[in-house]
Symmetry: C2
Subunit: 362 residues, 2 copies
DNA sequence: AGATGGCACTCGGGTTGTGAGAGTGCTAAG
DNA sequence: CTTAGCACTCTCACAACCCGAGTGCCATCT
């Protein structure tokens, strides 16, 4: 009973099942795939594969379907990567390069993956934590508030309000709502000239730095500045570090959720749990990060129960990092039923990740 | 055959059907609602209501269910608005006021509506077109490019790249991808001092202005500036007007799509068309804008086929505008099956819209 | 005139029974 | 080790069937 043929049988089962969505029996296996042996032989092999946990049968007298373990073996050793053809590549490239800003690029990438794979696409925003600081802007807005705008070198823009009404030494608070009647601010701290100088100093110290290096750089600025300005400078510095460090703001965009409802992907448990899992952006992010740190071709695959999320027990996740010149600044991927076209999905995800990396502002 | 009682019967049918999700017959109608007449009488009324097109029966010998027209009559004349109780109001208020920036506020509003109504929530970003300009920032970034950051008085921040490498007179182009080897820029146009002056002038001219007034204000600045700077100034002005005017960027956020998959809202056509409609953000936006311009309590309702989108033929949309001091800067709402709890949904949407208006940066 | 009770009729949905087909495991032979 | 044959099991599709809910209509009552 040759080991090779057993694997060939597994591959045939996976491919056939992915294609027909129906349990596959020994007869069709010999007919549709050129295995050159009789059904009875196949049956023996299938019994062995089932014993080893690679396939299972939904009920007696139905064909076999691959288990999670079977799919795993398939993607690890049996799947042949099938690169996209040229027109497809071209289409990806032009569609992405027509984007107008970061939001647009990521939105397009999502729609692209959703359309290429016919599944759900997830695209993570470039992590602030991993981005460098490109520019820092200070804008005084009515009263005692300062708008701090942070621009990263991945093109992302974040803004926060800083309340500078509080006296020196007090911890400046992040606010969104005006207190209806705040204390009268000290206008001197907010005049354009002073702000301009502060902005110049902070920018000079911080430009291009990564988050890890920012606190030190800012500390030097705070030390070198006029003592009356020091609290303000420190407030701004803290706010910026806080903004870049907060993983709360690790946003992701979804696309193609409508694909989930298509008839050809019926989930056993209904798609309620899947949709719920997709809304849990925090958990989803965790999953993606975990996934991108896997070795291999750069594309990570989680199959069925391999991902801890219960809602995704019937789905597989294919994800890849992306980012300028080799640095992974974020992750994108595709989510579909475990019974998915792995080679095709992997190829699509990888292709979009590559072109996205190329198109990102550098 | 009293007109009043007929309406009472319609109301009872709607309420019962919304509650039980099953066609309601004459018997249960007399039992569960205190109508004080016999089933036979009810049957006569129902025949009349059916004749008038307010109710229908899915098949012979099943109870009646309301038609779109029936729901319409119900919300217009029969529904009693049921205001939220105090703890609920409190919860909304505190949850919204904990938000940290605009993205967060809108995200929270969405989750709030989704949870209160058990349906899908849509929240439109404050329209740039209706916003005033709070501040304009110019940031030189590597080479011949300028980053223009626009901050509106609704707290929204937009950024665009401007390519200033082209000679005077040429139309500056919006770019996202670097040409690998661009022409050497004229560095003099981008030095900090000049930019600072330009920024100051533009801001002085434009601060607080609405989109409609911007072109004139900018024109005056362009005219009054050093001739060598005029092309640059005009480029920036055009870009800003273009940015604020583009309805392309009218983003919306969705929440609670998982609610669609809950068993209690089975759609006849499946939820595929619904999900697809929700992904068509452009069309969805059109629907919302159309909807908010309706008179009445400030909350607009579209029932079933009333909204043109085919995918939403089995759903109703409840929407309300929101915005600081009476101005509607954007719209938010809830989407669910036509068989929804209209009074409850209307109350929730209205409440969230009000508190959101209060919490927005003014 | 409007409300009511009675009654025949219709129809959808659930239950049951049956037969066909697909697929398997096992055993014995090539 | 492969193959053919065979008995066995189970699902699915189909048909027959009954039951109950609900209706429409008509004669009767107030």
């Amino acid at each position: 009973m040759s080991e090779e043929r057993r694997l060939a049988v597994l591959r045939a089962i996976v491919e056939d099942y992915v294609h027909t969505r129906e349990p596959v029996g020994s007869r069709v296996l010999t007919e549709r795939h050129g295995l050159g042996v009789s059904p009875a032989t196949i049956r023996n092999d299938m019994a062995a594969l089932e014993e080893a946990g690679y396939i299972a049968q939904p009920h007696t007298s139905a064909g076999r379907i691959p288990t999670d373990k079977g799919y795993r073996l398939f993607v690890d050793r049996l799947a042949e990567v099938r690169p996209l053809n040229n027109p497809q590549r071209r289409a990806i490239e032009t569609f992405l390069s027509e984007a107008i800003d970061l939001d647009d690029v990521l939105g397009r990438a999502g729609r692209l993956i959703a359309q290429l794979t016919g599944q759900v696409a997830v695209v993570q925003y470039p992590s602030l934590r991993l981005s460098g600081l490109r520019h820092l802007e200070l804008v005084p807005v009515g009263g005692a508030r300062l708008l701090v705008v942070v621009i990263t070198d991945t093109g992302r823009v974040e803004q926060r309000f800083l309340d500078v009404g509080a006296g020196p030494g007090a911890e400046p608070a992040v606010v969104t709502v005006d207190s209806p009647a705040g204390p009268a601010p000290d206008p001197s701290a907010l005049d354009e000239g002073t702000l301009g100088e502060l902005r110049a100093r902070l920018n000079a110290a911080a430009a291009g730095k990564r988050l890890d290096d920012l606190p030190d750089a800012f500390a030097r600025v705070v030390a070198g500045v006029d003592p009356t300005l020091a609290p303000l400078a420190r407030g701004i510095a803290d706010l910026v570090v806080d903004t870049l460090g907060a993983q709360r703001e690790e946003r992701i965009v979804l696309a193609g959720t409508a694909n989930l409802a298509r008839a050809e992907m019926r989930f056993e448990q209904g798609l309620s749990p899947v949709l719920e899992a997709l809304e849990e952006q925090v958990v989803l992010l965790g999953l993606l990060t975990e996934l991108a740190s896997e070795p291999g071709t750069g594309v990570g695959v989680r199959i069925g129960h391999e991902n801890r999320l219960d809602g995704l027990a019937e789905t597989s996740v294919v994800a890849s990092g992306y980012g300028t010149d080799g640095d992974t600044v974020a992750i994108l991927g595709s989510i579909g039923p475990t019974r998915m076209d792995y080679p095709g999905t992997i190829a699509s995800v990888r292709a979009v990740a590559r072109y996205l990396s190329r198109v990102l502002p550098s």
